[in-house]
């Protein structure tokens, strides 16, 4: 069995014919040649395959392409605009937020959406009191570490990643 899937990927309509068992990650990498999202653990444990669906960060290895007909997908390839890097990409360079680079696209995609979650007032496990409103000013380094815990970095660039994310979150 093959199914038709149409998705808006990085702003362009893409129509694919996939087997139902094809993960979104495999469809992006193998069918659309978008190799920014990485296949690392392939079990939802490392975050290297993080992309956005309708603006939300998700793990593309743990969902099927066929479940996303009609959805808007953004990968790291779609983050720059008019040839300029996203501010988080710039800050990862500025703060030396990577070494081997394998986790980096997942880290950046996760962080971009995470900052929006914090702006929307979402609490986290690091939030002292979930009954009180949360604002972006509450996004401490401890909050960033907790909210980014779904992205592993084998080179252990964590302090620099937190610095890059904190700098972008502190701007408007």
């Amino acid at each position: 069995m093959r199914v038709d899937v149409s998705m808006i990927v990085n702003g362009s309509l893409r129509t694919l014919e996939v087997e139902p068992r094809t993960t979104l990650l495999d469809a992006l990498r193998d069918e659309l040649a978008l190799t920014g999202p990485k296949k690392s653990c392939d079990r939802g444990e490392c975050g290297a395959c993080t992309v956005h669906i309708e603006g939300r960060r998700i793990l593309s290895c743990m969902t099927l392409a066929a479940m996303h007909d009609g959805h808007q997908i953004t990968t790291i390839e779609g983050l720059e605009s008019n040839g300029s890097l996203h501010s988080l990409q710039e800050m990862f360079i500025e703060h030396d937020g990577f070494q081997c680079g394998f986790c980096t696209s997942g880290q950046i995609m996760s962080a971009v959406a995470m900052i929006e979650e914090a702006r929307a007032g979402w609490p986290s496990a690091a939030t002292t009191d979930v009954t009180k409103p949360f604002t972006i000013e509450d996004l401490s380094p401890a909050e960033i570490r907790e909210r980014m815990s779904g992205n592993l970095c084998r080179c252990s660039c964590y302090p620099n990643i937190v610095a890059a994310v904190a700098e972008v979150a502190g701007r408007r």
Binding site: M1, V3, E19, P20, R21, T23, D42, R43, G44, G47, T50, R56, R57, I58, L59, M62, T63, L64, A66, M67, D69, S110, A113, M114, E117, A120, G121, W122, P123, S124, A125, T127, V130, T131, R145, E146, R147, M148, S149, G150, N151
Partner: protein, 331 residues
């Protein structure tokens, strides 16, 4: 993954009818557990029915009486961020925020969360080691294997696994109900009767049958809901399943406990209520730590540790005590 077919209906009744008629069909929602189980060849359905398009089962409703109705397709992150959930039942929001990662919480649904299967490493082993839950009759590798993460209550020689859901522990403590629909109609299953102990049929985690679809979780209004807390202990500080956890809600009259609800995770095949301790806590002052400890110990008299997890008996009591103190501070 193995080949399978897929359908994406929008009508609840059509989805239920398809499930009732095909024993090789599985519902898929967030997919965050099922896809892993399929990749590890633990579950091999012939057909997946994508329920994400089903209409009318994803809302989070704050009921006028103080209760909540959470649609089965509501995502963990939306429920955890919901202001009514956070103020009425902080224990629910916390149990969700201490689970999984930001990405997984955006995908995983409430119905799927309470349906997730055990993290017992033998159950999920790629080499298909003996496991009665995975292959009935094959034996339990954990019973005399590495069982540090396993049960101290309610286990059988056929299965010593624990239930991994944090949310389920909070819902059990609050005596929530699972709203289930099947071809014959709709029924409410109290949380206390939703999960099973393993006995000699550990392949059944809960009482749901073919043709059943969870459509919502209903949390009754609870005066003690606001003074509640979820405390989770794990081997690392974030993004890990519980070693031991406690969900507590408490009501008190001038610091003397009038009602305590305590559910524990990581200790049994289902969320484990400390029923006898809850009774013993009635009338005890929240400031009398010694008396609180004695009352909590009552439920642990019948704990049965395995070779590697006797430490959980002491740890669980400390977790319950600290959760009770934190919940009490919200009074």
């Amino acid at each position: 993954m193995h080949p399978f077919s897929l359908s994406r209906p929008t009508d609840v009744l059509a989805a239920i009818a398809a499930h009732a008629q095909n024993a090789r069909l599985a519902f898929i929602a967030g997919g965050t557990d099922l896809i892993g189980l399929m990749k590890d060849r633990v579950t091999l359905p012939d057909h997946l029915l994508d329920i994400n398009r089903l209409v009318g089962i994803s809302q989070i409703e704050a009921l006028r009486d103080g209760g909540l109705r959470i649609g089965a397709l509501a995502r963990m992150s939306d429920v955890a961020a919901n202001p009514d959930v956070r103020s009425r039942f902080p224990v629910i929001a916390e149990s969700l925020l201490f689970a999984a990662s930001g990405q997984l919480r955006n995908m995983a649904t409430i119905g799927g969360n309470i349906m997730q299967r055990t993290r017992c490493t033998y159950f999920r082993d790629e080499d298909d080691l003996p496991c009665n839950k995975r292959r009935p009759g094959s034996g339990c590798s954990a019973r005399y294997g590495i069982n540090r993460n396993h049960a101290i209550f309610g286990w059988s020689d056929d299965c010593v696994a624990t239930h991994p859901s944090d949310l389920a522990v909070a819902l059990a403590a609050l005596d929530a109900n699972v709203l289930v629909r099947n071809p014959g109609g709709q029924r409410l299953i109290p949380f206390a009767g939703f999960y099973r102990l393993p006995g000699n049929t550990p392949e059944h985690d809960n009482v749901l049958e073919r043709g059943d679809l969870i459509v919502a979780i209903e949390v009754p209004a609870r005066n003690e809901g606001g003074a509640s807390h979820y405390l989770k202990l794990r081997d690392r500080q974030s993004y890990e399943f519980a070693l031991v956890s406690a969900a507590v809600a408490v009501a008190a009259d001038r610091r003397r406990i009038s009602l305590a609800r305590i559910g524990m995770g990581g200790v049994a095949h289902k969320p484990w209520r400390l029923t006898r301790s809850e009774a013993a806590l009635r009338g005890v002052s929240l400031d009398d730590i010694g008396a609180l400890k004695l009352a909590l110990a009552v439920s642990f008299a019948d704990a049965r540790p395995l070779a590697h997890n006797a430490f959980k008996i002491e740890l669980a009591q400390r977790v319950a005590l600290r959760a009770l103190e934190t919940a009490g501070a919200r009074l």
